[in-house]
């Protein structure tokens, strides 16, 4: 490129006239940090108290069938898995912007892979296990109930899970497609960066 110097001058003629206020940036960092902390603490508290509640119910009701205990156990397990996933995501998002770019790219790819895995398998598995847990719970608590009440409850619960399943599938299909595109671009970028 013979006119590289001209290009450089042309390129550098573009100036940023915006005013950068350090206090504004500092405020944004604080707000972001506080928001993340608050969401995670509140979610952990909510999950934690639900878990405690499940344990208390299990201890309180000693004369129920195995269906009841299995359903509560399954719910507790799902809550625990959700909490582990949530805190795992927090530690992964702490990667520093000063890292080696190849390593940084690899970490971003790992995040996308986890996101894809969660969308493709995590959400359906979560919904199925939740459904199973509800069915086990209903099988126990509806013992001896009126047939009409039985039918209505099952129709409502199954309807809810069918709706959630369709909705989750619709959302995940859209996200999976855009995730795939981003993943391909980042893989290409990484290969390009590492190979001369």
């Amino acid at each position: 490129m013979e006119n590289l110097e001209n290009l450089k001058n042309l390129w550098k003629s573009q100036k940023d006239l915006a005013n950068i206020d350090p206090r504004e940036i500092q405020q944004r960092v604080k707000t972001e940090h506080l928001k993340m902390l608050l969401v995670n603490v509140l979610l952990t508290l909510a999950m934690g108290s639900s878990l405690v509640m499940i344990i208390m119910i299990m201890i309180q009701f000693t004369d129920r069938s195995w269906l009841f205990y299995s359903s509560l156990g399954l719910m507790g397990l799902l809550l625990l898995l959700f909490m582990i996933g949530m805190w795992g995501g927090v530690s992964l998002s702490k990667s520093s912007a000063l890292e080696n770019p190849s390593l940084y790219l690899t970490k971003q790819l790992k995040k996308i892979k986890i996101r894809r895995y969660m969308l493709a398998y995590g959400t359906p598995a979560f919904l199925f296990l939740m459904y199973l847990s509800f069915m086990l719970f209903l099988a126990d608590v509806l013992k001896g109930a009126h047939p009409l009440f039985h039918t209505m409850t099952y129709i409502f619960v199954i309807g809810f899970f069918v709706f959630m399943g369709i909705f989750a599938r619709y959302r995940s299909q859209k996200s999976l497609a855009s995730n795939q595109e981003i993943q391909n671009k980042l893989i290409g970028w990484l290969k390009d960066l590492q190979n001369p």
Binding site: K8, W11, K15, L17, I25, P101, L186
Partner: protein, 167 residues
């Protein structure tokens, strides 16, 4: 202003235009420009305490910009181009007029046709970073960077040639 704010003010003042142009090369003239710019400043602020003086502030800033662009790409939604009149307003960041503006338009068009990594590499080259500095930013061997720069220069020249041929 405290010590950190003063330092932030100093280093961003020195690199503000470069950061702006790196963002321009990566997202083009789209509404993502300000988002990416803000993200870079945010990352600079967060990473300032980790500066150990192993390299210069300049390479630190460029590496942060590079990595922030990667992160930005990994969660990018479809971008919206800026309104056409936005780039022609004298008070807006793009201080270009007439012929110069057309040349810049062409350059932007060509840069946007490159792959993401190459766009950033081109902006580093146009910012006059030495091979050693780029190698420091990307944590690669200097020879490796040399090969890359030559390749991307050829790609850009070809694109400019073909765009010039069209007009």
């Amino acid at each position: 202003m405290n010590k950190k704010e003063t330092l932030f003010h100093k280093i961003t003042k020195e690199s503000q235009d470069s950061i702006f142009r790196i963002c321009l090369s990566f997202v083009g003239r789209s509404e993502d420009l300000n988002d990416l710019k803000q993200d870079i400043y945010l990352q600079i602020w967060k990473s300032m305490d980790q500066f150990r003086g192993e390299s210069t502030w300049k390479t630190y800033i460029f590496r942060i910009a590079y990595n922030t662009a990667i992160k930005y790409k990994s969660r990018q939604k479809p971008s919206t181009p800026l309104p056409e009149n936005y780039i022609n307003k004298a008070e807006e960041p793009f201080q270009t007029q007439g012929e110069k503006s057309l040349e810049l338009d062409l350059l932007h068009k060509c840069i946007q046709k490159l792959a993401e990594g190459d766009r950033l590499l081109v902006s580093f080259m146009l910012e006059d970073l030495t091979y050693k500095e780029i190698a420091d930013v990307l944590q690669l061997e200097v020879n490796h960077v040399g090969v890359k720069i030559n390749r991307v220069k050829r790609k850009l020249a070809k694109l400019i040639e073909s765009e010039n041929g069209k007009s």
